[in-house]
Structures are given as C-alpha cells and as structure tokens.
C-alpha cells in the first residue's frame, strides 16, 4: 500500500479545464504527459467527465483513476484534476481560487460569452494559478492583482491622474512620429 502514501512533491495538479455547457473545451491544460499524451485522449476524457458531472452538482468525482473537482456556473464548468491519491482539499483550494479569480476578473459575470471576451486575461489568470503542475498561487486576490486588469477597461473617471497623463503622452508621441 506504499503507493498511496504521497510522495512529497510540488507537482500536485494534473490538469485544469473550463468547458461550456455542451462539454466543449474553452480552455484546458494538462500537466502530466503520462495521463493524456494526445489531444484526442484529452478531449474524450473531457466528454466523459462532462457527461458524468453536468447533471449532478456534487463537486467531486473519480474518473479513470483521476480525482476531478468541479464547479459550474450558468453555462460554464470549471475542473481541476489531480492524482487519485492527492489530498482532495488541496485540489479544492485550487478550484476555488480559479473560480474566484475568474469571477473577480469578469466582475461576477461568469458566463461563456464574457469569458471569451476576456479570454486573454482568463488565460493569464490560469497561468498565474498553476505553473506546469505546481500550484503557484491559491489566493484569488493575489492572482487578480498579478494579471493586472487592463487600464483602458476602467472608465476614465476611475483612472489615476498619472495613468491619464501617461496615455495622453503616448498618443501624442505616436502622432508626432507619423
């Protein structure tokens, strides 16, 4: 039974995925080449996973020897995957962080359309949460701060004076160069 005693390692996350309400991949990342070496296997696993999870909102499932934690909202499904021996609560905190930070980035509009409109920032957020299988940050506040919301998305009234000044200077410079 030694195998189930966890090897001390930082590589805890096997994969993360965001699927839409038809089970199609919006974004997915797998960090262990041994489990799903090809895109085809990944996608068939996602389909299988979606079929088992889209009805029951039960938060956790074991599938093909992988522990999957999931959470859904409107038309989105968020998944975090780890080895079947991994501490489930650890994976849960990753899922929670992923959901919370995306929710903050999208200003609580966690929907497929909004995710696609802000795909760049969502990608950056996932990159900040997990780096090649290592949990990089599990605090959603820190993640949001690091992906740095786009300044021109903030209405001009909320920008700092320095920011306005900076963007005006840039525009002027380029117009002169032309």
């Amino acid at each position: 039974m030694d195998c189930s005693l966890l090897e001390p390692t930082l590589y805890t996350v096997k994969g993360m995925a965001i699927l839409d309400n038809d089970g199609n991949r919006i974004l997915a990342k797998y960090y262990d080449d041994n489990i799903f070496p090809t895109i085809k296997e990944q996608k068939s696993f996602e389909k299988n996973l979606f079929n088992r999870t889209h009805r029951a909102n039960a938060e956790i499932i074991m599938l093909d020897g992988i522990t999957c934690l999931y959470k859904s909202n409107v038309d989105l499904f968020f998944y975090v995957m780890g080895s079947s021996h991994e501490n489930e609560l650890l994976l849960m905190s990753v899922l929670q962080c992923m959901y919370d930070s995306i929710s903050q980035i999208l200003r609580k509009n966690v929907e497929k359309r909004v995710v696609l409109d802000n795909l760049d920032v969502v990608m950056l957020a996932l990159d900040e949460i997990c780096d090649n299988g290592i949990i990089l940050e599990a605090d959603s506040g820190a993640v949001v701060q690091r992906v740095a919301l786009r300044t021109d998305d903030i209405p001009i009234g909320e920008q700092t004076v320095a920011q306005v000044f900076q963007s005006a200077k840039e525009q002027l410079k380029w117009s002169l160069l032309k």
Partner: protein
C-alpha cells in the same frame, strides 16, 4: 461600436473564436510587425493563436518559428496585458519553434527591470527557453530573484528552478543557490515558503540525513503555510516508513499526530490520511485520525465528505472495529447526493456492519448502482466478495445482487471481477454452487466477452457434472455451440464431453449432440467433437477417466516448449507425454483484498520455474550421465552471503535415482582469476558419489558451473540430509586494468554453507480435483502411516500452520482446502497431494485442531511406497 460588435457576435453564435482557420490566423500575425504596435488588436490575435493551440491545432516547426519571431516584435509595446500574453506565447511555442533563445536578452531585461508586473512572469518564460549552458549566465539574476522582497517574483524563481531540475546537470547549478533557498524558506509569504520547501526537498531528497535534519528543524518551527505543512507531513511519513523505533516514541509521528489539531482543514485531513496510510499503524494510533474523519463526514462540503469516507473505507479494510464508532455518520451518507460518497459509505458499512444489516444495505446500493462509474462498481464487487467469505449464509442475497450487476452494461474488467467473485463463492461455499452456476449460465447467454465465456464454460464442465441435476446445464452449453464463434464452440464441446463422461444418464444424449458438432465448419471444434465422440463410443472407462474425467496434469509451458523444439528440430525422437514433468502449482493464494492482482503474479511464477526444468533436462545430456529424465529442479539457494568475494548459488536437479547439484560460482574480485574449481562435499551415509564436473577457470564478473552427481540412498527415509561443502580452487593474481595474469597461483579452500536435502526438493505439487475418490481408492491398496503432532500457534492462526505444513511437505492442497473459512475456526481438514521422485503418488490428510495456543495435527499419509509414506510423516516431526 458596442452595438455593432453585439450584432456581429449574434451572427456567429456569440463565440468570436469559433471556426478559426489556422492559415488565416497565422496570416493575421503579420500585424505584429506594424509600427506602432496596436496593443488591443495584437492581444486579440495572440489570444486567437493561443486558443487555437489549446483546442488542439498542431503548428509545424516553420509556422511556429515564423509566429515566434513575429511575436518578438511585440516587445516594443509597453502594454502590460500584451507583454504578458507574449510570455504565454513564448512558453507555448518554445517546444515547437526553433532558435527560441533569441528572446533571452529581452526577457532578462524584463526580469531585472523595474516593472514588477513583468518580472515574475518573465522569469517563468525565460526558464522555459533556457538550457543548461545559458543557465549559468542568468544564475546571478535567479539568486537575486529567489530572495526578492516581492513574493510573486520569489515564487516564480523557485518554481522555475524546480522545473529546471528535471535536467540533472541543471540540478547542480541550482544547488549553488541553496543559501538563497534556505532564506526564502523563512519568508512571510505562505506560497514562497511552500515553494522553497518543495525545491529544498527535491535537491536534498537523496541525502537522507539532510532530509531528517530539515524535517526535525521545521517540525519545531511553526510554518504558516498550510500547503507547506502538508508537504512536511509527507516528508515526515517518508522518513517514518523507514524508521524502526516504535510509533509511540517517534518524534516524527508525534508531529504528524499534532497536525490533526491544526486550524486548516487541509492539514488536518492530510495528517489523518497519512496516519491511516502509514504501514503498521495500530488501532490505538488510528483513533484520533478516525475521530476527525468522523467529524468531516457531517461537513457541508461534498469534497470533505468524500475525502473522509474514502479514508475511512481504507481503515475499514484492516481495522473494521475502529470504524464501527462512525457507523451512524456513515448511515447518513448513504443517501448523499454525491454517488461516490454514497457508494464509499455503503461499502465501508458492509465491512464494519453486522450480518443483520446486509439486506438493507444491499437494497440501498441497488437503487443507484447504475449511476456510478465502473471503478466504484468494482469497489462494490470487492466488498461483496469479502462479505461472502465473512457471512457465508448471506450468499443468496449477495448472489442475486451480483447477477443483477452482471446483466447491466459494463466493461470487461468489471464483468470479470463479478465473474471472479461468483466463481470464488462457488468454490468456497458448496451451498451456493447451484445458484452460482445458474447465474453464470444465464450470463453466458448474453455475454460479449469471449474470454469470460470460455472460462465459465470450463467451470461448468468441471463443476456441473457433480451437481444434483447436471442435465439442466446442457441446454445452456449447447446454445453456445449454435450461437457463438469458434473459440466458444470448442470450449462448449469440451464442457459437454465432460458431462457425458461423468453422468452415465446423459451419455447417450450428449453423444448425439457431439455427432452434430462433427460437421462444424471450424477445424478445432470438429476435431474436438470427433475425438470426444470416439472416446465416448469406445466405452473404455480407463481411457475416459484419463482423458475426460481427470485429464492428466502435464505442465503446459513445458509441453509448449517441447513442441516448439520439436518443430524446429524434428529429427529428435518422439515427444513422450509421460516424460514431461507433471503440472505443478504454486500455492493458491487465498481470497484476500487484492485477489486479481495476486492471481496474475502467481500465474507467472510456475511458467518460469517449469521452463527452467526443460533447461535442466538438457543437463543429463550435457554431463553425459545415464540417469533418466529430470524429475524437477529446486530454486537456487545462496551458499554465501550476497556481498562476499565469491558468490555461490546451488540448484538441486532431481532425477529418479540421482541428484545433480549445480553450483553457480561468480567471481567478484577484479584482481583474481580462479582456476580448477571443484566442490568438496561431505556426503552423508547412504548417498553415493557418482561423478564431478569441475570448472577450468572463472575471470572477474564471470560465472562458472561445477556439477556434482550423487545417487540417492535406496531407503527414502535416508534422503533427508545436509552436506557440508567447501569450494577448492587455485587463485592467480592478475592486474585489474590490463588483465595480465601472474603465473604462480596458490591453492585455497573456501567454506560454503551446508547444502540441505529436504523432502520438498523431491516432491512435486499436484493439484487434484478428485482427491476424495483417489483417497478412498488408495485406502485398500496403499500403505498408510499416521502420526499426531503439536505445533505452537502463530499469529496467523490455523492458516499459518497450514502454510507451514504445505511448505514442509511440498505438496498441494486439493479443492482449496488450505483456505480456512471463517479464519477463526477451531478445527480444519486439509487434503494434500504430491508426486515423489520416481513418480510415486502421495496423498495426505492433515486434521488440525486448536487448543490453548497449540495446534494438534493428525497427519495420515497414503502411498504405494511404505518408506515414502514414513518419510513424509517424519518430515513434519
């Protein structure tokens, strides 16, 4: 503007990324070259590229390289999001594109620059394109980054270092930063602490002493990060597994136990999980872990409940009584909305619960068994299997449930595990046999797995004729002949013939059925049918017994190899089946928690052993001895310690009257050559020395063989002996480098451990299905010897004693009589069968009875040779 965009989105289904075309997207990437850079547009294009790759689009090397170089132009822009997207792009393309190191200087600039939002991500991007040679140039910056006051940067540097450690030569460079990593370990930030600990452990993990020190130091300090504490618990457990001192005195165990009172649930669960999974944790140490898991069972979070039940299920496997206290909480989980939690709760309850609750629990499972995945269904099946051996009286309920599961959809592994369970129940519990067979019959009516059908048909042939109403199975078997493929048809024909041989009333009707099969289109089916009908028509009871009722037990791997040899070299004389070694069995492992795994392991061993027999068979030819055919060969045993200058192993090859001892000698000294090696044996009385084959010379790391041939004493009782052995040889020194040998050697003697001759060496295990009949037949004809012994009781109870007896005698238990059910039974009867050298059959029956820490054994042995029977009895003495 916004209105326009909305309208456009409505047209393409709201997904601006739908139907992306690789070539057009890559075409768009040319925009990257425009000055000034339009951050918004470029970010969008970059998102499209990354999205496309994420969806599984493959880029060719040329495409990737072109895109990569276009991307480097974007470093001109100072837009934060765009720059970060470029980093992502670099990481994504670094595996495909060529010459990615071109961006090193740009990334190094970002990494050391003033803009904090760039730095962490730049470090991670840089490390994904760095190789060992370049690592040295950025090493200085990495060291600074590790101790940076910004936690994000420090974490990024530590994590990147760990990724780089996948390359061993990079590990050495990373090791030079050990001081900085140590400093990061004291950081106030929880993630930095966690990453530093992970990296530090990775660098030190081969150095046990360093890890011990690290763990000892950290367990005393109070780590802030819950993740780091989890990591520390795992490190402590790794050390604990190797520790020899008792758990109650271990400081490490005390630490793990103290973590159960940690304020973070993650840590509490990690500690409880660790205690449960540590090998050899007693019930006393489990108690605190079980009580926190019990608390988790009533948590509002499904994950916590899942984790808790899963771990409790594991505890219940070995310590069911410890979990009994949680039964009430587990009952509440049966109706949990998460089916995995419910399944685990029920299987745990099945392990801990009483006989009375089984019916109710089985009904509960039946309501949702279709909703759970195959993995969990197998867990349920295994729980049922354990239950059947625990409560044999409940077999009807359990069997019904299993047959219900058999009818549902499922993969081969799942179906096989159910069939295995039913077969195991049939073998263990005679009362369940008829119902079990009936369920299996029904199953093969509609089974898509050929291998399972064949197995079940074989079982029906073996067990069916001995039931009260054999005729009812014929219909099921004959249906296979009509409906299935050739492999199944052949198996069905074989099974039918067995009924004809064993039940006289069915004899004629089956002959008619077999006649019909003689016209089958498949060769194998036709051959079998013809063979069996001829056999049955002959009315020669001896032939029928030999070929049908109790077919001979020839070792199949040996037969296969002999046939292969014959095909390659047909000039050899005919294969004589009587000369092949009998089918031997390795002890049948009882029904335990991992039956499937163990069975496969068992299947492998005899194959290797028997194939070695064939090699042994060439021995007599090799040594030019006239000793007949090889009877068996023992496993080789060591006559020296493993780490000595000369390693000697001994294999005993047994012939009808002779014994050949093979000594394999390995020279482990690089400055010596051994010459003229012989073995001096001090043989005991009765044995007769026939011949010796010495070995001329053995060089460094070479292995040579010395053979000694002896003749067994006429009286079998004298064959149990032990010979002192000495290796005699001439040592010549040689130069380890040039291999030049000095001419003058000197004689040396090397004392070996004694060579033991036991009964086991001369006995083959024979697995008999019809032990009882043979035992009765032997009563009048054979010699019988009876003796009573007493053995001290060991921890394993009767089954331990039985294993001891079997290993002493080298015989096999018939009809699984070596399984004691229930394990705490106070008396048991084991039926044994074996074949002694000289093809002398031996049957034995051991009656065991338990009384006050002593097992009383009455052993009765029947054999054609009186001295052999006495020998068997005396072995146990």
């Amino acid at each position: 503007m916004a209105f326009k965009r909305d309208k456009k989105e409505e047209e393409d289904g709201g997904n601006p990324y739908q139907n992306l075309e690789k070539t057009s997207v890559l075409q768009e990437a040319r925009t990257f070259n425009d000055t000034p850079v339009n951050p918004r547009k470029c970010t969008h294009i970059l998102s499209k590229i990354l999205y496309m790759i994420n969806q599984g689009e493959q880029l060719g090397t040329a495409e990737a390289t072109e895109t990569f170089f276009a991307m480097t132009k974007l470093f001109q822009s100072r837009d934060i999001i765009l720059r970060r997207m470029v980093y992502l792009g670099i990481k994504e393309l670094s595996g495909i594109a060529e010459d990615v190191i071109i961006v090193t200087s740009s990334l190094t600039k970002d990494m050391t620059g003033k803009e904090d939002t760039y730095r962490a991500a730049a470090i991670r991007a840089l490390c994904s394109i760095t190789d060992v040679s370049m690592l040295q140039t950025i090493e200085r910056y990495m060291k600074q980054a590790i101790v940076d006051k910004n936690p994000g940067i420090s974490s990024a540097a530590l994590v990147s270092c760990l990724h780089l450690c996948k390359n061993t030569s990079a590990t050495d460079i990373v090791k030079r930063s050990l001081n900085e990593i140590q400093e990061a370990l004291n950081s106030d930030n929880v993630m930095v602490q966690y990453h530093a600990l992970g990296l530090l452990f990775h660098l030190r993990k081969s150095d046990r002493l360093a890890v011990t020190k690290l763990v000892a130091k950290l367990t005393k300090s109070n780590m802030k990060s819950p993740f780091a504490v989890c990591m520390l618990i795992r490190m402590a457990c790794k050390l604990l597994e190797e520790e020899t001192i008792p758990r109650s005195e271990s400081a490490l165990f005390e630490f793990v136990e103290s973590c159960i009172r940690h304020k973070s649930e993650t840590v509490v669960y990690e500690a409880a999980h660790a205690i449960v999974h540590l090998s050899g944790t007693g019930a006393r140490h489990l108690a605190p872990a079980v009580s926190v898991l019990q608390l988790f069972c009533s948590s509002a979070k499904p994950t916590l409940r899942f984790a808790a039940v899963r771990t409790l299920n594991k505890v219940a496997m070995e310590h069911p009584t410890t979990v009994t206290a949680c039964n009430l909480d587990l009952e509440n989980l049966i109706s949990d909305s998460n089916r995995s939690v419910a399944t685990l709760a029920i299987t745990t309850l099945l392990k801990t619960g009483a006989e009375a609750s089984i019916d109710r629990l089985m009904k509960q499972i039946a309501t949702f068994v279709n909703e759970i995945s195959d993995e969990f269904k197998i867990v349920v099946v295994q729980a049922i299997r354990a239950l059947c051996s625990k409560f044999p009286r409940k077999h009807t309920v359990l069997m019904n449930f299993l047959s219900g599961m058999l009818r549902e959809e499922g993969g081969l592994e799942y179906k096989a595990s159910i069939a295995d369970t039913i077969i195991a129940i049939i073998e263990e519990n005679p009362e369940a046999k008829e119902t079990g067979l009936a369920h299996l019959c029904e199953f093969i009516e509609d089974c898509e797995h050929t291998s399972l059908t064949v197995r079940i048909l074989h079982l029906l042939g073996k067990e069916g004729p001995r039931t009260k109403q054999p005729s009812r199975y014929i219909r099921f078997i004959y249906n296979r002949v009509i409906l299935e493929g050739a492999v199944v048809r052949a198996a069905a024909v074989g099974a039918m013939a067995k009924y004809a041989a064993n039940c006289s009333m069915l004899h004629d009707s089956i002959k008619v059925l077999l006649k019909r099969c003689c016209l089958d289109v498949d060769d194998e089916v036709r051959d079998r049918a013809t063979f069996y009908s001829q056999l049955l028509s002959s009315n020669n009871s001896q032939l029928i017994t030999d070929y049908l009722s109790h077919p001979m037990h020839v070792s199949l791997p040996v037969l296969e190899k002999t046939c292969q040899d014959y095909v390659i070299n047909p000039t050899k004389e005919r294969i004589n089946l009587n000369e092949l070694p009998a089918d031997t069995v390795i002890k049948n492992v009882g029904i335990s928690q991992e039956p499937i795994k163990k069975h496969t392991v068992d299947n492998v061993k005899p194959v290797e052993a028997s194939v070695k027999n064939v090699d042994g068979q060439k021995l007599s030819a090799l040594l030019d001895l006239n000793v007949g055919n090889l009877f068996c060969s023992s496993d080789s045993s060591m006559l020296t310690e493993a780490e000595t200058e000369y390693v000697v192993r001994c294999t005993k090859h047994i012939f009808n009257q002779h014994l050949v001892l093979q000594f394999e000698i390995t020279n482990t000294l690089d400055d010596q050559i051994l010459e003229n090696i012989s073995i001096a044996l001090d043989i005991s009385e009765g044995f007769q020395f026939i011949n010796e084959f010495t070995c001329p010379s053995i060089k460094y790391q070479e292995t040579g063989n010395v053979y000694v041939c002896l003749k067994f004493p006429d009286d079998s009782v004298d064959t149990i002996a032990s010979f002192t052995a000495k290796m005699k040889f001439i040592v010549k020194d040689c130069d380890p480098i040039t291999g030049e040998v000095q001419d003058d050697g000197y004689q040396e003697d090397y004392r070996l451990e004694d060579v033991e001759m036991t009964l086991k060496d001369q006995m083959l295990q024979v697995k008999l299905g019809n032990w009882d009949t043979l035992w009765e037949e032997a009563k009048g004809v054979c010699f019988e010897v009876q003796e009573t012994f007493a053995l001290p009781l060991t921890d394993g109870g009767l089954s331990d004693t039985i294993n001891q007896i079997i290993s002493f005698l080298g015989m096999a238990a018939a009809n699984n009589t070596d399984n004691v059910h229930p394990p705490n039974k106070s008396s048991h009867i084991v039926n044994l069968a074996g074949m002694m050298r000289g093809n002398c059959k031996v049957l034995a029956q051991a009656k065991l009875a338990l009384s006050d820490n002593v097992v009383n054994i009455q052993l009765t042995v029947r054999s054609m040779d009186e001295r052999v029977a006495e020998l068997v009895v005396s072995t146990l003495d």
